[in-house]
């Protein structure tokens, strides 16, 4: 296996991890606010299709991205309206929204292009350019992995710190955490939990929309039906396992990206396409088991150590 081969493997792993990273950060914000964000799929899908259409129509990348982000915010506001004002169950509503958006994006595509599979040929989306980072690109091995990625990938890495700063260093972040842990306490000092939930969800939707647009305007230059393929849920899992830590969630997203990359490279050796399409999920699920098992075992052994130490301490006392 040559060096170039390994380089391309890690390069593609980072690229594949990008949308998962976005969703993981999106889920992290919601989770800090005490709610699981199950609607990330729909946030990504709607912004992916809207971004493609607007960037193609206006021939302006920034306008396309803004339109995509706006569409994601709009459906999130609808979700928040339904859940927090009309008191529909948030999770049922999220699942319903995911199903609806899967259909709605296909419908939008069909109305605009007459095609139900993808927008290629009708709308050539503008793409986020690839960026070579000065200095780093000349470092052997590392340079070839980190430099030359799509602009969205770098924004994702910046987002890790933005989200961290937001949660741990701003007033809003403090309120999000307060509401997440004890809404009554927050309410008793005049913080409206539903307002905080809504703000957290809208910010989460902005981040998720970037993940969606990476798929259709970075990774590809078109919208393909159901192109998110469950990434929203993988990101949710990453955030949950990382205990809503932005950095932990992003790192786990990269691990999941590796799982996908392994699948891609296995294509050279495995020909069964059904098995291949299931493979990233099999790897992810196994990883979840292992991580959770490691954590439980670690807690148990910590507990045992402390108990033993205490017994010894009390014995020596007597």
């Amino acid at each position: 296996m040559s060096i170039e081969y390994i380089e391309t493997f890690f390069f593609s792993a980072l690229r594949i991890a990008t949308p998962i990273m976005y969703v993981a950060l999106c889920a992290t914000i919601s989770l800090q606010g005490g709610l699981t964000n199950m609607a990330a799929e729909s946030m990504m899908l709607i912004s992916a299709v809207t971004g493609v259409i607007f960037s193609a129509l206006t021939q302006n990348l920034l306008l396309g991205i803004l339109a995509g982000a706006l569409s994601s915010v709009l459906i999130t506001l609808f979700l928040c309206f339904a859940a927090f004002i009309m008191k529909v169950d948030l999770y049922l509503m999220s699942i319903a929204l995911n199903t609806a958006m899967s259909g709605a994006t296909i419908y939008i595509m069909w109305v605009m292009t007459g095609n139900k599979a993808n927008t290629a040929g009708y709308f050539a989306s503008l793409q986020m350019p690839e960026v070579n980072i000065p200095i780093i690109q000349h470092i052997p091995f590392i340079g070839n992995i980190i430099s030359g990625q799509n602009g969205f990938t770098y924004i994702a890495i910046i987002m890790i710190f933005v989200v961290w700063f937001l949660i741990f260093r701003t007033k809003l972040g403090l309120r999000i955490r307060a509401v997440g842990q004890n809404p009554q306490a927050a309410e008793s000092v005049g913080i409206n939990p539903y307002k905080i939930y809504t703000i957290a969800f809208v910010m989460a939707s902005l981040i998720a929309s970037l993940g969606g647009m990476f798929l259709s305007m970075g990774y590809q230059n078109m919208f393909i039906r159901d192109m998110t393929g469950g990434k929203g849920f993988i990101g949710m899992a990453a955030a949950t396992i990382a205990n809503a830590s932005p950095i932990g969630a992003a790192l786990l997203a990269i691990v999941f990206g590796l799982a996908d990359a392994i699948t891609n490279y296995s294509k050279l050796y495995i020909t069964d396409s059904q098995f291949l399409s299931a493979m990233p999920y099999i790897i992810t699920t196994s990883l979840l088991f292992i991580l959770s098992y490691v954590r439980v075992k670690k807690n148990e052994s910590d507990m045992r150590k402390r108990k033993l130490a205490a017994l010894k301490a009390s014995e020596t006392q007597e």
Binding site: R175, A178, N182, A186, G190, I191, R306, A310
Partner: protein
């Protein structure tokens, strides 16, 4: 004449279900005054305070703050107008630091940036000014209940309130923490704050408060000044009849030891040895009291006996059967009844009816089973008898338990446990947070069942009067061990108990005598 800080006038509140919680209530709080609001559970104290704090609306009545008429839209509005409240269940965020909790909602810093250093400084300054010592960097989940209460006080004070509502602040505190709280409250009073002190405990009210308004069935039944306060008058105003707090206790005629605790230890999750090699017993026909500063292992003992907590070492024998390896249901069947300290979690199912709660432990009892079905007729009769015998005040046996007042909820639990066929009752804080009338009923029942039916009772309580009045033998727990035993409780007083509770004195094994 001190300046009037707060006046509530003619407050009437009728809930949408037609229940009149407050009827024409008026009272005032002056600058530098601690005003007690007392009454049985369900007398309308909480509702009244909710109206004052903007959590509930009232149909009639006016609120004046420093002479100006106000209407409280919501708690934030109430705080802005100068009314703060320390809730019975703390409104704190466990994973945030003390400082973060104190400034939550009024965070310092430029724009959206949260300035942690200033927050810590603000907390330290307030902590200094009001003499409420806290560590601003500690996580709230790691600090003691007493400290949490200080954080709550700071939260209100830092927002500049002038009137503080304290909803049963001593219910969750240890005796020392209560002392400390009283010193702090008197200090606030000196500084001109007005304090509304809600409590059940008459001795505390008499010690701390300058005046008291007594509520009964949603009306003011009396206003009383400090100099006129005595236990009898207060009791009469609260329940509308004289109650004799100490029961007439006769000597116990004890039988064999039915509950044996032998060399029992418990080590908790973080490795602390909470119960340390404890042995004692409870004989038929006697009440054994356990007193001690909270957190010295009393709770764990009661939970180990009832099977809620697995013991680390030792053995517990109930009516001749070792309980190791048995589940809670099997342990109960050996003859244990449990009045839990936490009545809303372990004592009852809040949303279920009185009927269902009473029936819940009889679902496999042949007395109430006909083939595969429950014998509704027999059960119905049993429930009616319970409601009558234990004086449970309710509209119907079908109404959900959470609609009852605290005292009546406890009566439901007591009724179920006393009639469960058990002969050993573990009563853990059976009268905490409960009105005087119900408390006295429970005391009488405990006494009656041991004398007439030969029950053994293990009574764990932080109310020293309660354990002194009821116990035939009184044990003091400290650091997970039995520090003392008194076999004649009539010769015991608070001070003697305090010395053993705080570890100033220790009894030798000979002095302690036989623990059975």
């Amino acid at each position: 004449m001190a300046k009037e800080l707060l006046k509530m006038e003619g407050i009437t509140k009728i809930y949408s279900n037609g229940f009149m919680a407050n009827k024409d209530i008026s009272f005032t709080v002056n600058e530098g005054e601690i005003h007690a609001l007392i009454g049985e559970n369900g007398a309308g104290k909480t509702t009244l305070m909710k109206i004052l704090f903007g959590l509930e609306d009232c149909q009639q009545g006016k609120i004046f703050i420093e002479g100006k008429e106000c209407h409280m839209e919501n708690p934030l509005d109430a705080i802005a107008k100068g009314v703060g409240m320390v809730h019975q269940h703390f409104m704190l965020v466990p994973n945030l630091t003390v400082a973060e909790n104190v400034v939550l909602g009024i965070e310092p810093g430029p724009g959206q940036i949260f300035d942690k250093k200033t927050a810590i400084k603000m907390t330290e300054e307030a902590s200094e000014k009001f003499q409420l010592k806290v560590d601003p960097n500690a996580l709230v989940r790691d600090i003691s209940v007493g400290l949490k209460q200080k954080v709550e006080l700071l939260k209100a004070l830092i927002r500049g309130v002038k009137v503080l509502i304290l909803d049963e602040p001593t219910a969750v505190l240890t005796p020392q923490e209560v002392r400390e709280l009283f010193v702090q409250l008197k200090n606030l009073k000196e500084n001109g704050y007005g304090i509304i002190f809600i409590s059940h405990k008459l001795d505390e009210v008499m010690e701390l408060c300058d005046s008291a308004t007594v509520l009964r069935h949603g009306r003011v039944s009396g206003f009383i000044k400090r100099e006129d306060m005595d236990e009898k008058t207060l009791s009469r105003l609260i329940v509308g009849r004289d109650i004799v707090n100490s029961i007439e206790k006769d000597d116990a005629s004890t039988g064999e030891t039915i509950l044996k605790i032998r060399n029992v230890s418990y080590v908790d999750d973080i490795g602390k040895k909470i119960v340390n090699d404890v042995s004692f017993g409870v004989r038929a026909g006697e009440i054994v009291g356990i007193a001690g500063v909270e957190g010295n292992g009393q709770n764990e003992i009661s939970e180990m006996i009832t099977g809620l907590l697995p013991m680390t070492e030792g053995s517990i024998v109930i009516n001749g059967t070792e309980i190791k390896g048995l589940n809670i249901n099997q342990i109960r069947k050996l003859g244990i009844a449990h009045i839990s300290e936490d009545r809303m979690t372990y004592g009852c199912a809040q949303d279920m009816s009185i009927y269902d709660n009473l029936a819940s432990i009889y679902l496999d009892n042949p007395k109430f089973i006909k083939g595969a079905f429950i014998d509704q007729k027999a059960l119905s009769k049993y429930v009616k008898d319970c409601i009558e015998e234990f004086e449970i005040a309710c509209d119907s046996e079908k109404s959900p338990v959470r609609m009852l007042s605290g005292g009546n909820i406890q009566k439901v639990i007591v009724a179920r446990e006393f009639t469960s066929g058990a002969n050993i009752i573990i009563a853990n804080q059976p009268t905490r947070g409960i009105d005087v009338g119900t408390a006295s009923l429970i005391h009488k029942l405990l006494h009656k069942y041991t004398r007439e039916k030969g029950f053994g009772v293990l009574l764990i309580s932080s109310d020293l009067n309660e354990v002194m009045n009821l116990s035939d033998r009184l044990l003091i727990m400290r650091n997970g061990k039995i520090a003392a035993q008194f076999t004649d409780t009539s010769k015991v007083n608070d001070e003697m108990m305090g010395e053993y509770m705080l570890g100033i004195k220790k009894m030798t094994e000979e002095e302690r005598g036989e623990l059975y």
